[in-house]
């Protein structure tokens, strides 16, 4: 027996198909279209690669990172004193390295199409731009420590016989994650002991929020760094942040080269 | 020092707390081959069934026997021919009399006609130490005669062939008690361990009835020797413990390892001349208490430590 909803859907679909093509519907803002809410305070929970993240590893310790020979040679030349002298204490706090540091994040909407991600470690700020204008202006943007980040909601798009899915009911949303692609980076470090990434590096990130039965909420971050200058293959890591009720543990600390 | 031992003795001799509760809810699990496990009757009950009839291992608490028999009948309507007791404790022999009366024995030869009631009742088998304790031979409170094992053995092994498979009874001297039997159903590949192995507490050692930690370890190691996992340390031989869930060799190994490690820690204390209190203060069971210690329960970590200490300290 066909459910009543299916009968209505058949009728509506047939009606829609019989109508002349209409203009595109108004695009909702990124904030309105968000399939998940990742705003709030989040703390990095360091359960993996502990002694490479909670401590500054020794020079030349490149464990787990797929460096090419140029990358290895560059890592072995790391000189934190030189970075301090030249005011480059924040080289390990660029986007590719920042999210691996033991940090807290504060994520808010700067506007309806821009997410702001602040870290207390190194007092860094990243902006994730959803709006097309910022994306089009990307090539003219000067490289920076945090680079230029383009954001989109990476939603599920099940297809049938090549057709796109019907729009969700009013107020409903397709499930998905936040995808952020970052380039226009200044050269920096993947780790605090001088593991390099170059200006041509691209960072792709996926943020997914979970809600647990015990009330915990996790922000799972999958990161892929591609850097033809220093890496032999893409560098794939995943981190996890636990949601905190408020910013009472927020503890801004400046960048440190060591 | 005598009071805790007396309390423990009273606990063993007395009707277990569960017996004074309403009859429990029983559940049946088909373990493997011809063998089933019934939980909830007191100690776990093993049922082997087939064309020859029914063989039970242990009979639970007295208050649960009617339900136990009804549960057995869901598995098979055949005659109950054998009841094997793994040891003498009430939660394993409490249903002996009713089970005996519900069953029947195959008789023949010189017995037929000469002993009119020879075929009446199931055959109850146990190590002779169980009969000795049940029948007040040593001054303990006697159980009714119909509950006694009439077929006892005093050697290390006894063998049967029933329902198409060898049924091997092995006696482990001085383990949980002095009258323990473990039963191995060879074709079904299931061991019924009685309280030689439980998954719900530390090994229970009834010192008053001849138990000893070294016997417990001998039993666990013998079960490990008999059992064979199917693949990657899982499945194959299954073990029905006296209490708790069905296990396989890997679970048994984990339990044996725990018991050995704690025994070694306490033995080290005995060797150094530490008192029982000093050994307890060193918390030899700390890393396993979360799993096996039930404060306020029937058998606690403290009781286990004391039993091991006394086992190891006893003059030989």
């Amino acid at each position: 027996m066909i459910h009543k909803f299916c009968i209505a859907a058949i009728l509506m679909a047939s009606f829609a198909m019989a109508q002349p093509p209409a203009g595109p519907p108004p695009r909702p803002s990124a904030k309105d279209a968000a399939p998940e809410d990742i705003t709030g305070y989040w703390v990095s929970v360091v359960t993996e690669d502990w002694r490479w993240r909670m401590l500054t590893p020794a020079k030349g310790d490149i464990t787990s990172i797929p460096l090419n020979p140029v990358g290895r040679k560059t890592a072995e030349a790391w000189d934190p004193a030189k970075d301090e002298a030249s005011g480059e204490q924040c080289k390990a706090y660029g986007a590719p390295g920042l999210m691996r540091l033991p940090t807290r994040l504060h994520i808010t909407w700067q506007d309806d199409n821009t997410l702001k991600v602040e870290s207390d470690e190194g007092t860094q700020t990243r902006l994730f731009h959803f709006a097309i204008q910022e994306r089009l202006g990307g090539s003219g943007t000067q490289p920076s420590r945090q680079g230029l980040s383009f954001a989109e909601w990476d939603v599920s798009h099940p297809t049938f016989m090549g057709f796109a899915p019907p729009p969700p009911p009013a107020g409903g949303k397709l499930p998905g994650s936040l995808k952020v692609t970052t380039n226009r980076l200044l050269p920096g470090y993947l780790r605090k002991n001088g593991i390099p990434y170059g200006a041509g590096a691209t960072l792709t990130e996926y943020f997914t929020r979970t809600n647990e039965a015990n009330g915990d909420s996790w922000l799972l971050l999958t990161s892929i760094v591609e850097d033809p200058q220093y890496l032999a293959s893409d560098f794939l890591t995943s981190d996890h942040f636990k949601r905190e009720a408020d910013g009472s543990k927020w503890n801004p600390a400046p960048c440190q080269a060591r | 020092m005598r009071v805790p031992a007396l309390i423990a003795l009273a606990a063993f001799l007395s009707v277990a707390p569960a017996q004074q509760n309403p009859p429990a809810e029983l559940h049946t699990l088909h373990v493997q081959g011809s063998v089933y496990m019934i939980v909830g009757a007191g100690g776990n009950v093993t049922v082997q069934t087939g064309d020859d009839g029914i063989l039970l291992v242990d009979s639970g608490l007295p208050g649960n026997t009617d339900k136990l028999i009804a549960e057995v009948r869901k598995i098979s309507k055949g005659p109950i021919r054998y009841l094997i007791n793994t040891h003498v404790h009430p939660d394993h022999v409490g249903g002996n009399e009713k089970i005996f009366l519900a069953g029947s024995t195959v008789t023949g030869g010189n017995v037929t006609g000469d002993i009119q009631d020879a075929g009446v009742g199931a055959t109850i088998i146990a190590h002779e130490a169980v009969l000795n304790r049940m029948s007040s031979a040593t001054g303990n409170q006697a159980m009714p005669a119909k509950a006694w094992p009439a077929d006892t053995y005093f050697t290390r092994e006894k063998k049967l062939f029933f329902n198409g498979e060898a049924v091997l009874l092995s006696h482990i001297p001085a383990a949980h008690t002095d009258g323990d039997t473990m039963v191995y159903f060879r074709r079904s590949d299931v061991i019924s361990a009685g309280d030689l192995y439980v998954t719900t507490s530390y090994p229970i050692i009834d010192l008053q009835r001849g138990g000893n930690i070294q016997g417990i370890l001998e039993a666990l190691n013998r079960m490990i020797d008999i059992s064979v996992p199917a693949d990657k340390q899982e499945g194959g031989t299954y073990i029905i413990p006296g209490h708790g869930r069905v296990a396989d060799q890997a679970d048994l190994v984990e339990y044996r390892d725990m018991t050995t490690i704690i025994r070694d820690r306490i033995a080290d204390g005995v060797k150094k001349g530490l008192s029982l209190d000093q050994v307890k203060a060193a918390q030899p069971t700390l890393d396993y208490d979360g799993v096996y210690n039930k404060p306020g329960g029937f058998w606690t970590a403290d009781q286990f430590i004391e039993a091991v200490y006394k086992s190891l300290s006893a003059k030989k």
Binding site: C6, I10, A18, T210, L236, D239 | R256
Partner: protein, 288 residues
């Protein structure tokens, strides 16, 4: 094609599809190759004795790990143990995931996984069935049920055998309940594993593991046979008596990590622990 004809032909098909059970587009079935861009040393050669960093373990777990002797694994009955499902993806874990479908209704019954090391196979029931009662056997892979939450597959597993958080003696009890979130992003799969173990952990313990799609991978077989490697008296179980493990401080000395930090605990997982570490005495190297 006129609008009318289009409506007649395509409309019902479209609507029937809209009425079908919703499948997440980001399905997890396929061949997955795991990556070791994190924790390589721990996951492949193995963790150091005494490294409890970043694990919210309690005193019971600490005692278990301090007592653990790697020689335990030479016992025949320990040699062929596979990793339990909560740890299996951390090791050499080329993985195959496939779907079991109800042929008539085209509904998903289960996902199955096969992992390279020791070849464990796992079933993740997707048909809403209940978990079994307490008295059934526990297995290395446990009993798993899953459900899609948006495009995240959330899996709950219990009925596990006693296992390990880390392969240096840090235990995971058979009472634990494991929650996993499997998230696919294109050719990448991230698995978050959260261990809830009231026996050995003071709070939930999370790790995330990454895979890359590799449709051409061939997973070899992994037979295992136990042998007697060392002639020992029957029943010998290698372990260290409390307070006698001579290897516990080696990790701290070798990597210049504060000894106190190596003892682990929940506080070692959080950024503020670095402030506490600054007040620890400097780790001293053993005299030559």
């Amino acid at each position: 094609m006129t609008s009318f004809k289009r409506a007649i032909i395509l409309g019902p098909l479209f609507a029937l599809w809209a009425c079908a059970p919703v499948f997440a587009q980001k399905d997890i079935a396929g061949e997955w190759d795991n990556r070791f861009d994190e924790d390589f040393l721990e996951r492949i050669p193995g963790p150091d004795i005494g490294d409890y960093l970043g694990i919210p373990l309690n005193d019971a777990a600490r005692r278990h790990a301090d007592s653990w002797d790697a020689s335990l694994l030479t016992l025949p009955e320990h040699q062929c143990k596979p990793h339990p499902s909560d740890y299996g993806i951390r090791g050499p874990a080329q993985m195959r995931v496939w779907k079991e479908m109800d042929t008539v209704a085209q509904t998903l019954i289960a996902y199955h996984t096969h992992i390279f090391w020791q070849a464990p196979e796992r079933v993740i029931w997707m048909d809403g069935r209940a978990h079994p009662p307490d008295y059934v056997p526990h297995t290395w892979q446990g009993f798993s049920t899953g459900k899609w939450e948006g495009d995240v597959l959330t899996i709950t597993t219990d009925h596990l055998k006693t296992g390990w958080i880390r392969r240096n003696g840090i235990p995971r009890s058979e009472n634990a309940v494991i929650t996993e979130h499997w998230v696919r992003h294109g050719k990448y799969l991230t698995v978050a594993t959260i261990v809830n173990d009231p026996i050995y952990l003071t709070e939930p313990f999370i790790r995330t593991t990454d895979f890359v799609a590799n449709p051409d991978q061939q997973i070899p077989a992994y037979p295992c046979e136990s042998v007697v490697e060392i002639d020992r008296p029957q029943g010998t179980v290698p372990h260290h008596l409390p307070g006698t493990n001579p290897f516990l401080a080696e990790f701290a000395m070798r990597y210049n990590v504060p000894v106190e930090a190596t003892r682990g605990g929940a506080e070692t997982m959080y950024p503020e622990y670095r402030i506490k570490m600054k007040n620890f005495p400097k780790t001293t190297k053993a005299a030559q």
